[in-house]
């Protein structure tokens, strides 16, 4: 079996993962610090017969991605804060029409133009709540280059499996940092492709969901002529004003993700068994957290770490279980406090929640974390 080692930056690892997952369409618009993903796919996609297009803006980018996806292509875009904000309306469109796609957001400091080359984790809540109306989607957050590779593959798999937009929340540090990773053989990987209808076209109803609540959308051009609309629709796909059908659709597109939570959740727990303090950290911040927790142990403090890899849906049950055992959960994030609210909600008052926040365009260092650990340990 061929084992290939490569020294890659996060953005490049994302590209390798996407190609491994079978990406065949990329539509994007240049934006720091995600641009390497577009640049790399511009040169790589034609080699695999795939299509790359640089659109006129980020709205056009996600629109093109969704159009391509309807033909059956595994489609993605990559952007950063300002572009991610522009995409929000069509992320909602993808949710209600159940068109799978992967959106990579290499987070930079905001708001607005903010700090294009500075890392931040300021889009955590926007990823979940940025578009209007009740919707649900999936967001993953890698902590290393290797994880970026595997998370990207997972993003495509989840998008295809749940017919939903999946967001990869990187940050500038993960996007530009270089690490050595082993590129596996594609045969070792599980690659999921979306379902296709098996019944004859005259019996086909695009939005009659399967037992998991997931729509089965035929690829355009394959003989199943159906209607896709961002309006509230019934299982035929056509618009309806019926309150019952409206409620049914809104609930289904939300609960198909909620109900699959146990399967979707991915997190890493280190030294949590006897811990009195848990550091909750994600993305590049998790790297500093692991280091600090180790140092704290050396100094005799019972410190563990909890690193969510799936951000949305949020792992509230796992956090509640920890909260029952520990005194303090310390949330570290490169923003003024976003996921800390989710943690507080999950903890239900069973433990003290502390926040270490940093929004200066610098990453959170192990030193920053140690200082705070010492401060709040007792």
């Amino acid at each position: 079996m061929k084992k290939e080692y490569k020294l890659l930056q996060g953005n490049e690892a994302c590209v390798e993962g996407a190609l491994m997952a079978g990406v065949s369409f990329f539509g994007g618009y240049p934006i720091t610090p995600s641009t390497e993903i577009a640049e790399s796919l511009a040169s790589r996609l034609p080699l695999t017969g795939g299509k790359f297009i640089q659109m006129e803006d980020e709205i056009g980018s996600i629109a093109a991605v969704l159009g391509a996806s309807l033909t059956g292509a595994k489609a993605m875009t990559a952007t950063s804060g300002p572009g991610f904000s522009l995409m929000q309306e069509l992320i909602g469109f993808a949710c209600i029409t159940e068109i799978p796609c992967v959106i990579v957001n290499v987070q930079r400091l905001g708001p607005s133009t903010g700090g294009p080359t500075s890392p931040a984790q300021g889009d955590m809540l926007q990823a979940r709540w940025g578009t209007h109306g009740d919707h649900n989607l999936i967001a993953l957050c890698p902590t290393s280059i290797e994880e970026t590779f595997y998370h990207t593959i997972k993003c495509f798999n989840l998008a295809e499996e749940y017919m939903v937009p999946v967001i990869l929340l990187m940050d500038e540090v993960i996007g530009h940092m270089r690490e050595r990773i082993k590129i596996p053989d594609q045969k070792e990987l599980m690659i999921i492709n979306r379902q296709q209808p098996s019944m004859p076209p005259e019996e086909y109803l695009p939005y009659r969901a399967d037992e998991r609540g997931v729509a089965v959308l035929a690829n355009f051009g394959k003989g199943y002529r159906y209607h896709v609309t961002g309006l509230i629709h019934d299982e035929t796909g056509f618009p309806t004003n019926d309150p019952k059908e409206t409620s049914k659709l809104i609930r289904r597109i939300n609960y198909k993700i909620e109900n699959a939570k146990d399967k979707l959740l991915d997190f890493q727990k280190d030294n949590t068994e006897d811990a009195e303090l848990i550091i909750f950290a994600y993305g590049s911040t998790a790297r500093s957290a692991l280091r600090s927790a180790h140092e704290a142990r050396e100094q005799g403090m019972k410190v563990g770490t909890f690193i969510p890899k799936t951000i949305w849906p949020f792992p509230e049950k796992a956090i509640f279980e920890l909260a029952e055992k520990v005194k303090t959960i310390m949330v570290c994030e490169m923003n003024l406090g976003q996921l800390v609210y989710e943690v507080e909600r999950a903890v239900k008052g069973k433990a003290r929640v502390e926040l270490l926040s940093k929004a200066s365009g610098e990453l959170i260092t192990p030193k920053d974390i140690m200082k705070k650990v010492v401060e709040v340990y007792n």
């Binding site: 299509k51 355009f220 896709v228």
Partner: protein, 276 residues
Amino acid sequence: MAIKEKSGIKKYLRLNKFPHIWCGGCGNGIVLRGILQGIDDLGLEQNKIVMISGIGCSSRMPGYVDFNTLHTAHGRAIAFATGVKLAKPDLHVIIITGDGDCAAIGGNHLIHAARRNIDLTVVILNNSIYGMTSGQYSPLTPYGSFATTAPYGNIEQSFDLCELVSSAGATYIARSTTYHAMQIPKLIAAGIENSGFSFIEIILHCHTYYGRKNKIGGPVEMMEWQKSHAVPISKKGSNIDMTGKFYIGELKKTRSPEYCKTYDELISATQRRKES
């Protein structure tokens, strides 16, 4: 021929969705008929047609036709269509859009799709008003006209979309009106057949909002206005006073490399280079 006509375009309709939602006398239905007639004349396979629209009155059209249909967000039809066409170039992609959808919120996508000369057929139904939201002025509302958001008369200038897409790089441009309904199928067919970006503007009447606000009258009066203001392009150069008038017919027919075909050549070239 005649028997074929009786059922001719009916096979393209989602019959259980009729009668349609448009107002009595609305020009949208006339354009719908013209488009379907054009498609029927070409004998295209239904499974290979994708009709994509944005938001607005005219953008409800895809719901009525038995193709692969996609009703997108406001202004974004052409961008979605770009993705569909590039991913599957063997599909015929037709975009239905209105003057607000296409010229205002979607203006940027229009320019750049024309610039790429990607093989899309854009049919813009220009009724000079936002009908779905009940009568606000659009970028194509004439100066001085009234609208709910131009209660003292429109103080903005409108512009010629056909000239815009022409300078952007569209290779087929035509214009007609709902009065000239007999001409529409031919223009649609020619637009679909053109390998490149095709743009067909249909001037149509919205008597419910534009007609009423501007005291023009009903559908017939508005179609009479079209008749008296449309000048066949063949008469260009003659001594006709064009003030307030517009040309109809095939305004531009040219050739330039089509985007998807060029991309496919690029794929072949890169793969050959990889092999050698």
